[in-house]
């Protein structure tokens, strides 16, 4: 359902259009978005008693979450970009404070199951979630790093929601089909690296 974007300034509209545009405008949109509300970091220090590094992390994470929502068309424009981003930032700060005060550094972090699989039944989802919970994330990241720049970039762009067609343009592949084949080979290669001792 599309909501009227009554709270959006022209500057907000500009950032959103850039984020929804091609990769080049998207990068400039990300930078513009990040710079526009950079003063939130100071607020994180003053209002939430975080140190500068923590406030920066909370702000960067908020920007990344917001970008993901916007590019996935999940931002409805019910409030201004600033107000909406501040809500996200507030929650990130509160989470950080909670983590600090309860001193619960999570040893085993269960990643939430990807929204991609939300359409399958609970029983099938539960089987996959249990397997995901067993994943060794640090090993997986280590193997991703061993994949080589090209493969890693292919998987990163795909995970970021870029289509094969967009990736083909960005990475200078002939066609989207070539991207897909290469991407799946990279995934298989990653699997072999991950499984090898």
């Amino acid at each position: 359902m599309e909501f009227p974007r009554i709270f959006l300034h022209s500057a907000d509209q500009e950032i959103i259009s850039k984020l929804l545009g091609s990769d080049q405008t998207r990068n400039s949109g990300e930078e513009q978005f990040f710079k526009t509300y950079l003063y939130f970091v100071r607020e994180g220090v003053q209002k939430y008693s975080l140190n500068e590094e923590e406030a920066f992390d909370a702000y960067s994470d908020s920007i990344l979450s917001a970008i993901e929502k916007i590019t996935g068309h999940g931002f409805e424009g019910r409030s201004s970009l600033k107000t909406w981003l501040y809500q996200i930032f507030h929650h990130k700060c509160v989470d950080l404070i909670r983590k600090k005060t309860t001193n619960k550094g999570r040893i085993h972090q269960t990643l939430p199951i990807n929204e991609m699989i939300s359409q399958v039944s609970d029983s099938a989802k539960s089987i996959v979630q249990k397997l995901i919970d067993k994943a060794d994330w640090s090993l997986l990241r280590q193997k991703l790093n061993q994949l080589g720049e090209n493969c890693r970039r292919l998987l990163m762009l795909a995970a970021d929601g870029q289509t094969d067609k967009e990736i083909a343009v960005l990475m200078d592949y002939k066609t989207a089909d070539v991207v897909k084949t290469s991407r799946l080979r990279c995934l298989e290669k990653l699997r072999q690296l991950y499984k090898s001792p």
């Binding site: 950079l38 990344l64 359409q119 996959v128 890693r152 298989e188 991950y194």
Partner: protein
């Protein structure tokens, strides 16, 4: 295995129909190796996304670092001794000027101005996207539409004369608009409300008087700040701080 990944990839990248979803579920439930492939596909995507986010954060960090005034960056190397003396003289002049500017005791009105600028830039919004009349007022305030925000909060008060938050927000917006008498009236009203553990009414009255700065305002503001400290009311830390250099 690549065939499996092709099938899984197609499923996640398209909009599957009911039959395709059922078939996919059936394969997860009946074929453990297929379920493992699905789990690995999703885990790999998640890990790759995390890596991309870290890369972006590193870029953000660079922008952030550049946005901070680099006090210690030495921009040039002077080729001749003469220029060292010039640089040293410039540093001394800079220190003297900055001391003159920054170590001047702030006036009471300036203290209030600074507090208003720093603390009243954003009002908290409830999560959940509930667009009640209070939230609309808050959005208007956060978007800098102060007269509209004031009208919104005053409308709320018309139908709910005892609404504490609406009164508080009316006072804050009036103060930002320079309508000090009106702000004082709202803050007096909330200060006299019993039963609120967090009540900034007295402190905000003092703040408004400091900003208004008419004859007698400073003395009255001091009295109110002393009351804030004595009764341990909201704003005590600022009040103590300000009173030290009164």
């Amino acid at each position: 295995m690549v065939d499996n990944y092709g099938y899984i990839d197609d499923f996640f990248k398209s909009t599957p129909g009911t039959d395709q979803i059922k078939e996919f579920e059936h394969r997860i439930e009946s074929d453990p190796s297929f379920a493992e492939d699905v789990a690995f596909y999703l885990s790999a995507m998640q890990a790759a996304k995390g890596m991309l986010h870290e890369e972006k954060k590193a870029g953000f960090r660079e922008i952030y670092r550049k946005s901070i005034p680099a006090e210690s960056v030495k921009v040039f190397k002077l080729p001749k001794r003469f220029w060292y003396y010039v640089a040293a003289a410039a540093v001394i002049v800079g220190i003297v000027i900055s001391r003159l500017i920054f170590f001047q005791p702030a006036t009471v009105a300036k203290l209030a101005e600074r507090y208003i600028q720093e603390e009243f830039i954003h009002l908290g919004v409830e999560m959940g996207g509930r667009e009640d009349s209070m939230q609309i007022g808050i959005h208007l305030f956060n978007d800098g539409k102060l007269p509209e925000a004031l009208a919104q909060f005053e409308n709320i008060l018309k139908s709910d004369t005892s609404n504490f938050d609406a009164k508080k927000y009316c006072g804050i917006v009036s103060l930002k608009l320079g309508q000090y008498d009106k702000a004082l009236e709202y803050f007096r009203q909330i200060a006299s409300e019993p039963g609120y553990y967090i009540n900034p009414g007295v402190f905000y009255q003092a703040l408004t008087l400091m900003k208004r700065n008419r004859p007698g305002d400073k003395q009255e503001a001091k009295r109110l700040l002393e009351e804030v400290v004595k009764k341990d009311l909201q704003g005590r830390e600022e009040a103590e701080d300000w009173l030290k250099n009164w």
